[in-house]
Symmetry: C2
Subunit: 332 residues, 2 copies
Protein backbone atom coordinates (compact mmCIF):
# COMPACT_ATOMS: atom_id res chain seq x y z
CA UNK A 1 0.00 0.00 0.00
CA UNK A 2 1.10 3.51 -0.84
CA UNK A 3 0.79 6.24 1.78
CA UNK A 4 -0.67 9.57 0.76
CA UNK A 5 -1.32 12.75 2.75
CA UNK A 6 -4.60 14.44 1.95
CA UNK A 7 -6.19 17.70 3.07
CA UNK A 8 -8.75 16.70 5.67
CA UNK A 9 -10.10 20.18 6.52
CA UNK A 10 -9.31 23.66 5.38
CA UNK A 11 -7.30 25.09 8.30
CA UNK A 12 -8.78 27.94 10.29
CA UNK A 13 -5.97 30.05 11.65
CA UNK A 14 -2.82 28.07 12.25
CA UNK A 15 -2.87 24.62 10.62
CA UNK A 16 -3.36 21.68 13.01
CA UNK A 17 -2.43 18.01 12.62
CA UNK A 18 -6.13 17.14 12.18
CA UNK A 19 -6.25 19.26 9.04
CA UNK A 20 -4.27 16.49 7.37
CA UNK A 21 -4.85 12.78 7.08
CA UNK A 22 -2.57 9.96 6.06
CA UNK A 23 -4.39 7.42 3.92
CA UNK A 24 -3.26 4.32 2.07
CA UNK A 25 -4.04 3.76 -1.55
CA UNK A 26 -3.43 0.90 -3.90
CA UNK A 27 -0.89 1.72 -6.56
CA UNK A 28 -1.68 -0.01 -9.87
CA UNK A 29 1.27 -2.15 -10.94
CA UNK A 30 0.79 -1.30 -14.61
CA UNK A 31 2.90 1.65 -15.84
CA UNK A 32 1.33 3.13 -18.98
CA UNK A 33 3.44 4.08 -22.00
CA UNK A 34 5.11 7.47 -21.47
CA UNK A 35 4.97 7.32 -17.68
CA UNK A 36 7.50 6.91 -14.93
CA UNK A 37 7.18 5.61 -11.38
CA UNK A 38 8.74 7.89 -8.78
CA UNK A 39 9.79 7.17 -5.23
CA UNK A 40 9.67 10.28 -3.05
CA UNK A 41 13.05 11.14 -1.50
CA UNK A 42 12.68 14.69 -0.19
CA UNK A 43 9.59 16.84 0.32
CA UNK A 44 9.65 20.61 0.58
CA UNK A 45 7.28 22.26 3.06
CA UNK A 46 6.76 25.96 2.39
CA UNK A 47 4.70 28.77 3.94
CA UNK A 48 2.97 29.55 0.65
CA UNK A 49 1.19 26.16 0.81
CA UNK A 50 -0.98 27.68 3.55
CA UNK A 51 -2.63 29.84 0.89
CA UNK A 52 -3.46 26.82 -1.23
CA UNK A 53 -5.26 25.24 1.73
CA UNK A 54 -7.77 28.10 1.72
CA UNK A 55 -10.69 28.04 -0.64
CA UNK A 56 -9.87 31.38 -2.23
CA UNK A 57 -9.27 32.59 -5.70
CA UNK A 58 -5.51 32.71 -6.13
CA UNK A 59 -2.71 32.55 -8.66
CA UNK A 60 -2.53 28.80 -8.09
CA UNK A 61 -5.54 26.52 -7.54
CA UNK A 62 -6.61 25.66 -4.02
CA UNK A 63 -6.02 22.15 -2.74
CA UNK A 64 -9.17 20.08 -2.65
CA UNK A 65 -10.52 18.40 0.46
CA UNK A 66 -9.71 14.67 0.50
CA UNK A 67 -7.16 15.12 -2.26
CA UNK A 68 -3.37 14.94 -1.87
CA UNK A 69 -1.34 18.01 -1.01
CA UNK A 70 1.26 18.95 -3.61
CA UNK A 71 4.63 20.61 -3.11
CA UNK A 72 8.14 20.58 -4.54
CA UNK A 73 9.58 17.10 -4.22
CA UNK A 74 12.75 15.28 -5.24
CA UNK A 75 11.98 11.78 -6.43
CA UNK A 76 13.91 8.85 -7.81
CA UNK A 77 12.81 7.12 -10.99
CA UNK A 78 12.28 3.50 -9.98
CA UNK A 79 10.66 2.39 -13.23
CA UNK A 80 10.42 4.14 -16.59
CA UNK A 81 8.24 3.77 -19.63
CA UNK A 82 9.30 7.19 -20.90
CA UNK A 83 12.35 7.68 -23.12
CA UNK A 84 13.34 10.92 -21.41
CA UNK A 85 13.90 9.28 -18.03
CA UNK A 86 15.89 6.24 -16.90
CA UNK A 87 15.70 4.15 -13.78
CA UNK A 88 17.94 5.78 -11.14
CA UNK A 89 17.42 9.33 -12.40
CA UNK A 90 16.54 11.94 -9.82
CA UNK A 91 13.93 14.54 -10.71
CA UNK A 92 12.30 17.52 -9.07
CA UNK A 93 8.95 19.19 -9.62
CA UNK A 94 5.56 19.82 -8.04
CA UNK A 95 4.39 16.38 -6.97
CA UNK A 96 1.90 14.85 -4.57
CA UNK A 97 2.62 14.01 -0.94
CA UNK A 98 2.79 10.28 -1.72
CA UNK A 99 5.43 7.68 -1.04
CA UNK A 100 5.30 6.66 -4.68
CA UNK A 101 3.53 8.13 -7.68
CA UNK A 102 3.35 7.92 -11.44
CA UNK A 103 4.04 10.88 -13.70
CA UNK A 104 4.16 11.58 -17.41
CA UNK A 105 7.28 13.64 -16.72
CA UNK A 106 5.71 16.98 -17.59
CA UNK A 107 7.10 19.80 -15.47
CA UNK A 108 9.81 17.58 -14.00
CA UNK A 109 13.48 18.57 -14.15
CA UNK A 110 16.33 16.10 -13.81
CA UNK A 111 18.80 16.96 -11.08
CA UNK A 112 22.41 15.92 -10.63
CA UNK A 113 23.09 14.15 -7.32
CA UNK A 114 26.85 14.52 -7.86
CA UNK A 115 26.74 18.31 -8.15
CA UNK A 116 24.85 19.02 -4.94
CA UNK A 117 23.00 17.07 -2.23
CA UNK A 118 19.51 16.15 -3.44
CA UNK A 119 17.81 18.30 -0.81
CA UNK A 120 19.59 21.38 -2.20
CA UNK A 121 17.32 21.14 -5.25
CA UNK A 122 14.41 21.99 -2.94
CA UNK A 123 16.39 24.83 -1.42
CA UNK A 124 19.23 26.92 -2.68
CA UNK A 125 19.07 25.44 -6.20
CA UNK A 126 15.28 25.14 -6.20
CA UNK A 127 12.33 27.47 -5.77
CA UNK A 128 13.85 28.84 -2.56
CA UNK A 129 17.09 30.02 -4.11
CA UNK A 130 15.30 31.20 -7.24
CA UNK A 131 12.83 33.18 -5.15
CA UNK A 132 15.61 34.85 -3.16
CA UNK A 133 17.71 35.64 -6.21
CA UNK A 134 15.04 36.71 -8.68
CA UNK A 135 12.92 38.56 -6.12
CA UNK A 136 15.94 40.52 -4.94
CA UNK A 137 17.30 41.24 -8.42
CA UNK A 138 14.04 41.93 -10.28
CA UNK A 139 12.27 44.06 -7.68
CA UNK A 140 14.91 44.97 -5.09
CA UNK A 141 17.46 46.09 -7.71
CA UNK A 142 20.24 46.14 -5.11
CA UNK A 143 23.24 48.42 -5.54
CA UNK A 144 26.59 48.07 -3.77
CA UNK A 145 26.75 50.34 -0.73
CA UNK A 146 23.01 50.30 -0.12
CA UNK A 147 21.32 48.81 2.93
CA UNK A 148 19.20 45.65 2.63
CA UNK A 149 16.87 44.53 5.40
CA UNK A 150 15.62 40.94 5.28
CA UNK A 151 12.79 39.69 7.49
CA UNK A 152 12.30 36.00 8.08
CA UNK A 153 16.06 36.17 7.64
CA UNK A 154 16.79 32.77 9.12
CA UNK A 155 14.23 31.13 6.87
CA UNK A 156 14.97 29.37 3.63
CA UNK A 157 14.51 32.32 1.31
CA UNK A 158 15.68 35.00 3.74
CA UNK A 159 19.04 33.43 4.52
CA UNK A 160 19.84 33.22 0.81
CA UNK A 161 18.54 36.72 0.01
CA UNK A 162 20.77 38.15 2.74
CA UNK A 163 23.84 36.33 1.48
CA UNK A 164 23.22 37.54 -2.06
CA UNK A 165 23.01 41.06 -0.66
CA UNK A 166 26.44 40.58 0.92
CA UNK A 167 27.90 39.14 -2.31
CA UNK A 168 26.65 42.25 -4.12
CA UNK A 169 28.25 44.61 -1.60
CA UNK A 170 25.28 45.80 0.47
CA UNK A 171 25.00 46.29 4.21
CA UNK A 172 22.65 43.47 5.25
CA UNK A 173 20.47 43.51 8.35
CA UNK A 174 18.48 40.39 9.25
CA UNK A 175 15.34 40.18 11.37
CA UNK A 176 14.59 36.79 12.95
CA UNK A 177 12.88 35.36 16.00
CA UNK A 178 15.66 34.00 18.20
CA UNK A 179 19.15 34.96 19.34
CA UNK A 180 20.37 31.56 18.20
CA UNK A 181 19.11 32.20 14.67
CA UNK A 182 20.62 35.66 14.67
CA UNK A 183 23.93 34.25 15.85
CA UNK A 184 23.82 31.90 12.85
CA UNK A 185 22.99 34.76 10.47
CA UNK A 186 26.13 36.62 11.51
CA UNK A 187 28.45 33.65 11.91
CA UNK A 188 27.45 31.44 8.98
CA UNK A 189 25.89 33.87 6.52
CA UNK A 190 27.85 37.07 7.09
CA UNK A 191 24.92 39.36 7.97
CA UNK A 192 26.20 42.69 9.28
CA UNK A 193 23.55 43.19 11.92
CA UNK A 194 20.53 41.33 13.26
CA UNK A 195 17.39 42.10 15.26
CA UNK A 196 15.38 39.64 17.34
CA UNK A 197 11.82 40.82 16.79
CA UNK A 198 10.53 38.72 19.68
CA UNK A 199 12.67 40.40 22.32
CA UNK A 200 12.95 43.91 20.84
CA UNK A 201 10.46 46.40 22.23
CA UNK A 202 10.76 49.22 19.73
CA UNK A 203 11.33 47.68 16.34
CA UNK A 204 11.23 51.01 14.52
CA UNK A 205 14.12 52.29 16.61
CA UNK A 206 16.02 49.00 16.41
CA UNK A 207 15.86 49.13 12.62
CA UNK A 208 16.96 52.77 12.63
CA UNK A 209 19.92 51.85 14.84
CA UNK A 210 20.90 48.90 12.67
CA UNK A 211 20.52 50.94 9.48
CA UNK A 212 22.23 54.29 10.11
CA UNK A 213 21.85 55.16 6.42
CA UNK A 214 18.22 54.05 6.23
CA UNK A 215 16.72 51.14 4.30
CA UNK A 216 17.09 51.02 0.53
CA UNK A 217 15.83 47.52 -0.11
CA UNK A 218 13.49 45.52 2.13
CA UNK A 219 13.07 41.85 1.32
CA UNK A 220 9.86 41.11 3.18
CA UNK A 221 8.98 37.54 4.07
CA UNK A 222 6.71 38.33 7.00
CA UNK A 223 4.49 41.42 6.58
CA UNK A 224 2.63 42.58 9.70
CA UNK A 225 4.23 44.63 12.46
CA UNK A 226 7.78 44.02 11.33
CA UNK A 227 6.93 45.39 7.89
CA UNK A 228 5.29 48.40 9.55
CA UNK A 229 8.44 49.12 11.53
CA UNK A 230 10.60 48.93 8.43
CA UNK A 231 8.30 51.40 6.65
CA UNK A 232 9.29 54.12 9.12
CA UNK A 233 12.91 53.70 8.05
CA UNK A 234 12.81 53.53 4.27
CA UNK A 235 14.87 55.88 2.15
CA UNK A 236 13.81 57.84 -0.89
CA UNK A 237 13.27 55.49 -3.82
CA UNK A 238 13.31 52.38 -1.60
CA UNK A 239 12.23 49.06 -3.08
CA UNK A 240 10.18 46.58 -1.04
CA UNK A 241 10.03 43.00 -2.29
CA UNK A 242 6.75 41.49 -1.05
CA UNK A 243 7.81 37.88 -1.10
CA UNK A 244 5.86 36.52 1.84
CA UNK A 245 3.65 37.55 4.73
CA UNK A 246 3.96 34.57 7.06
CA UNK A 247 3.04 36.66 10.12
CA UNK A 248 -0.48 37.13 8.78
CA UNK A 249 -1.10 34.01 6.68
CA UNK A 250 -3.01 32.41 9.53
CA UNK A 251 -5.07 35.51 10.33
CA UNK A 252 -8.76 34.74 10.61
CA UNK A 253 -9.78 38.37 10.13
CA UNK A 254 -8.46 40.73 7.49
CA UNK A 255 -5.29 42.01 9.08
CA UNK A 256 -4.66 45.72 9.52
CA UNK A 257 -1.37 47.55 9.24
CA UNK A 258 -0.26 51.12 9.07
CA UNK A 259 -1.43 52.82 5.89
CA UNK A 260 1.55 52.52 3.57
CA UNK A 261 0.40 55.11 1.04
CA UNK A 262 1.78 58.24 2.75
CA UNK A 263 5.15 56.54 3.20
CA UNK A 264 5.30 55.37 -0.39
CA UNK A 265 4.40 58.84 -1.68
CA UNK A 266 6.76 60.74 0.56
CA UNK A 267 9.65 58.41 -0.26
CA UNK A 268 8.62 57.64 -3.87
CA UNK A 269 9.06 54.05 -2.81
CA UNK A 270 7.92 50.88 -4.50
CA UNK A 271 6.26 47.75 -3.12
CA UNK A 272 5.73 44.82 -5.43
CA UNK A 273 4.50 41.29 -4.94
CA UNK A 274 6.76 38.51 -6.17
CA UNK A 275 5.96 34.95 -7.12
CA UNK A 276 8.79 32.98 -8.59
CA UNK A 277 6.63 31.02 -11.04
CA UNK A 278 6.16 34.19 -13.10
CA UNK A 279 9.86 34.25 -13.90
CA UNK A 280 10.46 30.79 -15.33
CA UNK A 281 12.31 32.27 -18.29
CA UNK A 282 15.06 33.39 -15.90
CA UNK A 283 15.39 30.10 -13.97
CA UNK A 284 18.20 28.65 -15.99
CA UNK A 285 20.43 31.74 -15.75
CA UNK A 286 19.61 32.11 -12.08
CA UNK A 287 20.48 28.49 -11.24
CA UNK A 288 23.73 29.00 -13.14
CA UNK A 289 24.60 32.02 -11.00
CA UNK A 290 23.57 30.34 -7.75
CA UNK A 291 25.57 27.17 -8.58
CA UNK A 292 28.59 29.33 -9.38
CA UNK A 293 28.38 31.12 -6.03
CA UNK A 294 27.91 27.79 -4.26
CA UNK A 295 31.03 26.39 -5.96
CA UNK A 296 33.00 29.50 -5.04
CA UNK A 297 31.74 29.07 -1.45
CA UNK A 298 30.39 32.60 -1.52
CA UNK A 299 26.96 31.16 -0.84
CA UNK A 300 26.13 28.60 1.80
CA UNK A 301 22.87 27.27 3.11
CA UNK A 302 21.31 25.56 6.03
CA UNK A 303 18.50 23.05 6.16
CA UNK A 304 16.28 21.60 8.80
CA UNK A 305 15.75 17.99 7.74
CA UNK A 306 12.92 16.08 9.38
CA UNK A 307 12.81 12.32 8.80
CA UNK A 308 9.75 10.28 7.95
CA UNK A 309 6.88 10.59 5.50
CA UNK A 310 4.26 10.81 8.22
CA UNK A 311 6.01 13.87 9.72
CA UNK A 312 5.37 16.06 6.68
CA UNK A 313 2.26 17.79 8.17
CA UNK A 314 4.00 18.58 11.47
CA UNK A 315 7.06 19.92 9.63
CA UNK A 316 4.73 22.21 7.70
CA UNK A 317 2.96 23.35 10.88
CA UNK A 318 6.29 24.02 12.58
CA UNK A 319 7.12 26.62 9.93
CA UNK A 320 4.58 28.91 11.56
CA UNK A 321 6.38 28.65 14.89
CA UNK A 322 9.71 29.36 13.22
CA UNK A 323 11.09 25.96 14.25
CA UNK A 324 13.15 25.71 11.08
CA UNK A 325 16.55 27.15 10.38
CA UNK A 326 16.87 27.66 6.66
CA UNK A 327 15.01 25.32 4.37
CA UNK A 328 12.61 22.89 6.01
CA UNK A 329 12.72 19.55 4.19
CA UNK A 330 11.32 16.13 4.99
CA UNK A 331 13.43 13.11 4.08
CA UNK A 332 11.33 10.11 3.24
Amino acid sequence: MNKTIILNNRPVGKPKPEDFKIVSEKLEKHLPEGEILLKTKYVSVDPYLRGRMTDADSYIPSFEINKPIESAIVGEVVESNNQSFSKGDFVTGLLDWKEQQKSDGEGLMKVNAEQAPLSAYLGVLGMTGLTAYLGLMNIGKPKAGETLVVSGAAGAVGSIAGQIGKILGLRVVGIAGSDEKNEMLKRDFGFDETINYKTTGNMTKAIADACPNGVDVYFDNVGGEVADAVMFNINDFARIVNCGAISIYNATEIPKSISVQPFLIQKRALMQGFIVMDHANQFSDAIGQLSQWLKEKKLTYTETIIEGFENIPQAFIDLFDGKNKGKMVVKV
Copy 2:
Protein backbone atom coordinates in the same frame (compact mmCIF):
# COMPACT_ATOMS: atom_id res chain seq x y z
CA MET B 1 1.97 97.81 1.67
CA ASN B 2 2.27 94.31 0.28
CA LYS B 3 0.02 91.58 1.67
CA THR B 4 1.59 88.24 2.55
CA ILE B 5 0.08 85.05 3.97
CA ILE B 6 2.21 83.35 6.59
CA LEU B 7 1.90 80.08 8.50
CA ASN B 8 0.64 81.07 11.92
CA ASN B 9 0.46 77.58 13.49
CA ARG B 10 1.17 74.09 12.27
CA PRO B 11 -2.33 72.65 11.69
CA VAL B 12 -3.49 69.80 13.89
CA GLY B 13 -5.89 67.66 11.88
CA LYS B 14 -7.82 69.67 9.32
CA PRO B 15 -6.32 73.12 8.72
CA LYS B 16 -8.27 76.05 10.20
CA PRO B 17 -8.34 79.72 9.20
CA GLU B 18 -6.37 80.59 12.37
CA ASP B 19 -3.46 78.50 11.11
CA PHE B 20 -2.81 81.27 8.61
CA LYS B 21 -2.30 85.01 9.01
CA ILE B 22 -2.37 87.84 6.53
CA VAL B 23 0.34 90.38 7.27
CA SER B 24 1.51 93.47 5.47
CA GLU B 25 5.12 94.06 4.63
CA LYS B 26 6.98 96.90 3.07
CA LEU B 27 8.30 96.12 -0.37
CA GLU B 28 11.63 97.85 -1.08
CA LYS B 29 11.34 100.00 -4.20
CA HIS B 30 14.85 99.16 -5.36
CA LEU B 31 15.03 96.21 -7.79
CA PRO B 32 18.54 94.74 -7.75
CA GLU B 33 20.37 93.81 -10.96
CA GLY B 34 19.17 90.41 -12.25
CA GLU B 35 15.82 90.54 -10.48
CA ILE B 36 12.22 90.98 -11.58
CA LEU B 37 9.16 92.26 -9.76
CA LEU B 38 6.15 89.98 -10.04
CA LYS B 39 2.49 90.69 -9.47
CA THR B 40 0.58 87.57 -8.44
CA LYS B 41 -2.27 86.72 -10.85
CA TYR B 42 -3.30 83.14 -9.94
CA VAL B 43 -2.41 81.00 -6.93
CA SER B 44 -2.65 77.21 -6.89
CA VAL B 45 -3.85 75.54 -3.68
CA ASP B 46 -3.01 71.84 -3.52
CA PRO B 47 -3.53 69.02 -1.01
CA TYR B 48 0.21 68.26 -0.86
CA LEU B 49 0.81 71.63 0.82
CA ARG B 50 -0.73 70.11 3.94
CA GLY B 51 2.38 67.95 4.28
CA ARG B 52 4.65 70.97 4.15
CA MET B 53 2.74 72.53 7.03
CA THR B 54 3.84 69.68 9.29
CA ASP B 55 7.22 69.75 10.91
CA ALA B 56 8.33 66.41 9.48
CA ASP B 57 11.22 65.24 7.44
CA SER B 58 9.99 65.10 3.86
CA TYR B 59 11.05 65.30 0.23
CA ILE B 60 10.45 69.04 0.35
CA PRO B 61 11.24 71.32 3.31
CA SER B 62 8.50 72.16 5.79
CA PHE B 63 7.07 75.66 5.83
CA GLU B 64 8.35 77.72 8.73
CA ILE B 65 6.11 79.36 11.27
CA ASN B 66 5.69 83.10 10.57
CA LYS B 67 7.12 82.68 7.08
CA PRO B 68 5.13 82.88 3.84
CA ILE B 69 3.49 79.79 2.35
CA GLU B 70 4.71 78.89 -1.11
CA SER B 71 2.85 77.21 -3.96
CA ALA B 72 2.61 77.27 -7.73
CA ILE B 73 1.70 80.76 -8.87
CA VAL B 74 1.26 82.57 -12.17
CA GLY B 75 2.64 86.08 -11.96
CA GLU B 76 3.06 89.01 -14.28
CA VAL B 77 6.39 90.74 -14.66
CA VAL B 78 5.71 94.36 -13.74
CA GLU B 79 9.34 95.46 -13.67
CA SER B 80 12.47 93.73 -14.90
CA ASN B 81 16.15 94.10 -14.25
CA ASN B 82 16.83 90.68 -15.78
CA GLN B 83 17.55 90.23 -19.48
CA SER B 84 15.57 86.99 -19.65
CA PHE B 85 12.28 88.64 -18.69
CA SER B 86 10.40 91.66 -20.00
CA LYS B 87 7.64 93.75 -18.47
CA GLY B 88 4.32 92.12 -19.35
CA ASP B 89 5.69 88.56 -19.44
CA PHE B 90 3.74 85.94 -17.53
CA VAL B 91 5.68 83.34 -15.58
CA THR B 92 4.90 80.36 -13.41
CA GLY B 93 6.85 78.70 -10.64
CA LEU B 94 6.87 78.04 -6.91
CA LEU B 95 6.39 81.48 -5.37
CA ASP B 96 5.30 82.98 -2.08
CA TRP B 97 1.72 83.81 -1.18
CA LYS B 98 2.36 87.54 -1.64
CA GLU B 99 0.59 90.14 -3.72
CA GLN B 100 3.93 91.17 -5.17
CA GLN B 101 7.41 89.72 -4.86
CA LYS B 102 10.87 89.95 -6.33
CA SER B 103 12.62 86.99 -7.93
CA ASP B 104 15.92 86.31 -9.65
CA GLY B 105 13.96 84.26 -12.17
CA GLU B 106 15.44 80.91 -11.14
CA GLY B 107 12.93 78.09 -11.50
CA LEU B 108 10.43 80.31 -13.30
CA MET B 109 9.02 79.36 -16.69
CA LYS B 110 7.45 81.83 -19.10
CA VAL B 111 3.92 80.96 -20.16
CA ASN B 112 1.96 82.01 -23.21
CA ALA B 113 -1.32 83.77 -22.39
CA GLU B 114 -2.44 83.40 -26.02
CA GLN B 115 -2.12 79.61 -26.04
CA ALA B 116 -4.20 78.88 -22.94
CA PRO B 117 -5.86 80.80 -20.12
CA LEU B 118 -3.29 81.73 -17.50
CA SER B 119 -4.92 79.56 -14.84
CA ALA B 120 -4.41 76.48 -17.04
CA TYR B 121 -0.69 76.74 -16.31
CA LEU B 122 -1.52 75.87 -12.71
CA GLY B 123 -3.74 73.02 -13.84
CA VAL B 124 -3.79 70.95 -16.96
CA LEU B 125 -0.56 72.47 -18.32
CA GLY B 126 1.07 72.76 -14.89
CA MET B 127 1.94 70.43 -12.05
CA THR B 128 -1.57 69.04 -12.05
CA GLY B 129 -1.56 67.86 -15.65
CA LEU B 130 2.03 66.71 -15.39
CA THR B 131 1.22 64.70 -12.27
CA ALA B 132 -1.75 63.03 -13.94
CA TYR B 133 0.09 62.27 -17.15
CA LEU B 134 3.49 61.22 -15.82
CA GLY B 135 2.09 59.33 -12.82
CA LEU B 136 -0.25 57.37 -15.04
CA MET B 137 2.32 56.69 -17.76
CA ASN B 138 5.40 56.01 -15.63
CA ILE B 139 3.82 53.84 -12.94
CA GLY B 140 0.36 52.92 -14.23
CA LYS B 141 1.64 51.83 -17.64
CA PRO B 142 -1.91 51.79 -19.05
CA LYS B 143 -2.78 49.53 -21.96
CA ALA B 144 -5.83 49.86 -24.20
CA GLY B 145 -8.64 47.57 -23.06
CA GLU B 146 -7.58 47.59 -19.43
CA THR B 147 -9.61 49.05 -16.57
CA LEU B 148 -8.44 52.20 -14.77
CA VAL B 149 -9.95 53.29 -11.46
CA VAL B 150 -9.32 56.88 -10.35
CA SER B 151 -10.11 58.09 -6.85
CA GLY B 152 -10.46 61.77 -6.11
CA ALA B 153 -11.68 61.61 -9.70
CA ALA B 154 -13.36 65.01 -9.71
CA GLY B 155 -10.24 66.65 -8.34
CA ALA B 156 -7.67 68.45 -10.41
CA VAL B 157 -5.35 65.51 -11.00
CA GLY B 158 -8.03 62.83 -11.04
CA SER B 159 -10.18 64.39 -13.73
CA ILE B 160 -7.18 64.64 -16.04
CA ALA B 161 -5.87 61.15 -15.23
CA GLY B 162 -9.28 59.70 -16.08
CA GLN B 163 -9.48 61.53 -19.39
CA ILE B 164 -6.01 60.37 -20.36
CA GLY B 165 -7.15 56.82 -19.59
CA LYS B 166 -10.05 57.30 -22.01
CA ILE B 167 -7.78 58.78 -24.71
CA LEU B 168 -5.58 55.70 -24.37
CA GLY B 169 -8.53 53.31 -24.74
CA LEU B 170 -9.12 52.10 -21.20
CA ARG B 171 -12.37 51.58 -19.34
CA VAL B 172 -12.32 54.36 -16.74
CA VAL B 173 -14.16 54.31 -13.43
CA GLY B 174 -14.13 57.39 -11.23
CA ILE B 175 -14.71 57.58 -7.49
CA ALA B 176 -15.82 60.95 -6.11
CA GLY B 177 -17.86 62.35 -3.23
CA SER B 178 -21.07 63.70 -4.79
CA ASP B 179 -23.59 62.75 -7.45
CA GLU B 180 -23.10 66.15 -9.02
CA LYS B 181 -19.38 65.54 -9.40
CA ASN B 182 -20.01 62.09 -10.80
CA GLU B 183 -22.49 63.50 -13.27
CA MET B 184 -19.76 65.87 -14.45
CA LEU B 185 -17.23 63.04 -14.75
CA LYS B 186 -19.50 61.18 -17.14
CA ARG B 187 -20.88 64.16 -19.04
CA ASP B 188 -17.82 66.38 -19.40
CA PHE B 189 -14.92 63.97 -19.06
CA GLY B 190 -16.24 60.77 -20.61
CA PHE B 191 -15.78 58.48 -17.60
CA ASP B 192 -17.48 55.12 -18.21
CA GLU B 193 -18.72 54.60 -14.68
CA THR B 194 -18.64 56.44 -11.37
CA ILE B 195 -19.09 55.64 -7.69
CA ASN B 196 -20.13 58.06 -4.95
CA TYR B 197 -18.09 56.87 -1.98
CA LYS B 198 -20.14 58.94 0.45
CA THR B 199 -23.44 57.25 -0.35
CA THR B 200 -22.20 53.76 -1.27
CA GLY B 201 -22.37 51.24 1.56
CA ASN B 202 -20.26 48.43 0.18
CA MET B 203 -17.44 50.03 -1.79
CA THR B 204 -15.74 46.70 -2.50
CA LYS B 205 -18.85 45.41 -4.23
CA ALA B 206 -19.51 48.71 -6.00
CA ILE B 207 -16.02 48.63 -7.50
CA ALA B 208 -16.48 44.99 -8.50
CA ASP B 209 -19.75 45.90 -10.22
CA ALA B 210 -18.23 48.88 -12.02
CA CYS B 211 -15.17 46.84 -13.07
CA PRO B 212 -16.45 43.50 -14.36
CA ASN B 213 -12.95 42.67 -15.61
CA GLY B 214 -11.22 43.76 -12.40
CA VAL B 215 -8.86 46.67 -11.85
CA ASP B 216 -5.62 46.84 -13.80
CA VAL B 217 -4.52 50.35 -12.92
CA TYR B 218 -5.54 52.32 -9.83
CA PHE B 219 -4.65 55.99 -9.77
CA ASP B 220 -4.95 56.70 -6.06
CA ASN B 221 -5.40 60.27 -4.86
CA VAL B 222 -7.05 59.44 -1.55
CA GLY B 223 -5.70 56.35 0.25
CA GLY B 224 -7.73 55.15 3.25
CA GLU B 225 -10.89 53.08 2.98
CA VAL B 226 -11.40 53.72 -0.72
CA ALA B 227 -7.93 52.37 -1.44
CA ASP B 228 -8.71 49.34 0.73
CA ALA B 229 -11.84 48.61 -1.27
CA VAL B 230 -9.97 48.83 -4.55
CA MET B 231 -7.38 46.37 -3.26
CA PHE B 232 -10.00 43.63 -3.10
CA ASN B 233 -10.60 44.07 -6.83
CA ILE B 234 -7.14 44.27 -8.35
CA ASN B 235 -6.09 41.97 -11.16
CA ASP B 236 -2.89 40.03 -11.54
CA PHE B 237 -0.02 42.40 -12.29
CA ALA B 238 -2.07 45.49 -11.34
CA ARG B 239 -0.27 48.81 -10.96
CA ILE B 240 -1.24 51.26 -8.22
CA VAL B 241 -0.06 54.85 -8.59
CA ASN B 242 0.20 56.34 -5.10
CA CYS B 243 -0.23 59.96 -6.05
CA GLY B 244 -2.04 61.29 -3.01
CA ALA B 245 -3.70 60.23 0.22
CA ILE B 246 -5.94 63.20 0.98
CA SER B 247 -8.29 61.07 3.10
CA ILE B 248 -5.57 60.61 5.71
CA TYR B 249 -3.42 63.74 5.38
CA ASN B 250 -5.20 65.32 8.33
CA ALA B 251 -5.01 62.22 10.52
CA THR B 252 -3.69 62.96 13.99
CA GLU B 253 -2.80 59.32 14.67
CA ILE B 254 -0.97 57.00 12.32
CA PRO B 255 -3.76 55.71 10.10
CA LYS B 256 -4.41 51.99 9.71
CA SER B 257 -5.55 50.17 6.60
CA ILE B 258 -5.86 46.59 5.51
CA SER B 259 -2.47 44.92 5.17
CA VAL B 260 -1.67 45.26 1.50
CA GLN B 261 1.11 42.68 1.42
CA PRO B 262 -1.02 39.54 0.89
CA PHE B 263 -2.89 41.26 -1.96
CA LEU B 264 0.29 42.46 -3.62
CA ILE B 265 1.84 39.00 -3.39
CA GLN B 266 -1.17 37.08 -4.59
CA LYS B 267 -1.69 39.44 -7.53
CA ARG B 268 1.99 40.22 -8.13
CA ALA B 269 0.87 43.81 -8.03
CA LEU B 270 2.87 46.99 -7.71
CA MET B 271 2.32 50.10 -5.59
CA GLN B 272 4.62 53.04 -6.08
CA GLY B 273 4.69 56.56 -4.74
CA PHE B 274 4.80 59.34 -7.29
CA ILE B 275 5.97 62.92 -6.95
CA VAL B 276 6.07 64.91 -10.13
CA MET B 277 9.19 66.90 -9.21
CA ASP B 278 11.28 63.75 -9.69
CA HIS B 279 10.40 63.69 -13.38
CA ALA B 280 11.43 67.18 -14.52
CA ASN B 281 13.32 65.72 -17.46
CA GLN B 282 9.98 64.61 -18.93
CA PHE B 283 8.07 67.89 -18.39
CA SER B 284 8.69 69.38 -21.77
CA ASP B 285 7.54 66.29 -23.70
CA ALA B 286 4.57 65.87 -21.39
CA ILE B 287 3.41 69.49 -21.80
CA GLY B 288 3.74 69.01 -25.54
CA GLN B 289 1.45 65.98 -25.41
CA LEU B 290 -1.06 67.62 -23.09
CA SER B 291 -1.19 70.79 -25.23
CA GLN B 292 -1.74 68.66 -28.30
CA TRP B 293 -4.67 66.84 -26.68
CA LEU B 294 -6.10 70.16 -25.48
CA LYS B 295 -5.89 71.57 -29.01
CA GLU B 296 -7.57 68.46 -30.41
CA LYS B 297 -10.26 68.87 -27.74
CA LYS B 298 -9.60 65.32 -26.56
CA LEU B 299 -8.75 66.74 -23.16
CA THR B 300 -10.79 69.27 -21.27
CA TYR B 301 -10.59 70.56 -17.74
CA THR B 302 -12.56 72.27 -15.09
CA GLU B 303 -11.48 74.76 -12.49
CA THR B 304 -12.90 76.21 -9.34
CA ILE B 305 -11.73 79.82 -9.31
CA ILE B 306 -12.01 81.72 -6.04
CA GLU B 307 -11.45 85.44 -6.18
CA GLY B 308 -9.38 87.50 -3.77
CA PHE B 309 -5.92 87.19 -2.24
CA GLU B 310 -7.28 86.97 1.30
CA ASN B 311 -9.36 83.90 0.37
CA ILE B 312 -6.34 81.71 -0.38
CA PRO B 313 -6.33 79.97 3.04
CA GLN B 314 -10.06 79.18 2.89
CA ALA B 315 -9.70 77.84 -0.67
CA PHE B 316 -6.96 75.56 0.60
CA ILE B 317 -9.06 74.40 3.57
CA ASP B 318 -12.02 73.73 1.28
CA LEU B 319 -9.96 71.14 -0.63
CA PHE B 320 -10.32 68.82 2.36
CA ASP B 321 -14.10 69.07 2.16
CA GLY B 322 -14.01 68.39 -1.57
CA LYS B 323 -15.58 71.77 -2.34
CA ASN B 324 -13.60 72.06 -5.56
CA LYS B 325 -14.42 70.63 -8.93
CA GLY B 326 -11.21 70.16 -10.82
CA LYS B 327 -8.33 72.49 -10.11
CA MET B 328 -8.80 74.92 -7.22
CA VAL B 329 -7.23 78.25 -8.10
CA VAL B 330 -7.35 81.68 -6.48
CA LYS B 331 -7.47 84.70 -8.77
CA VAL B 332 -5.80 87.70 -7.21
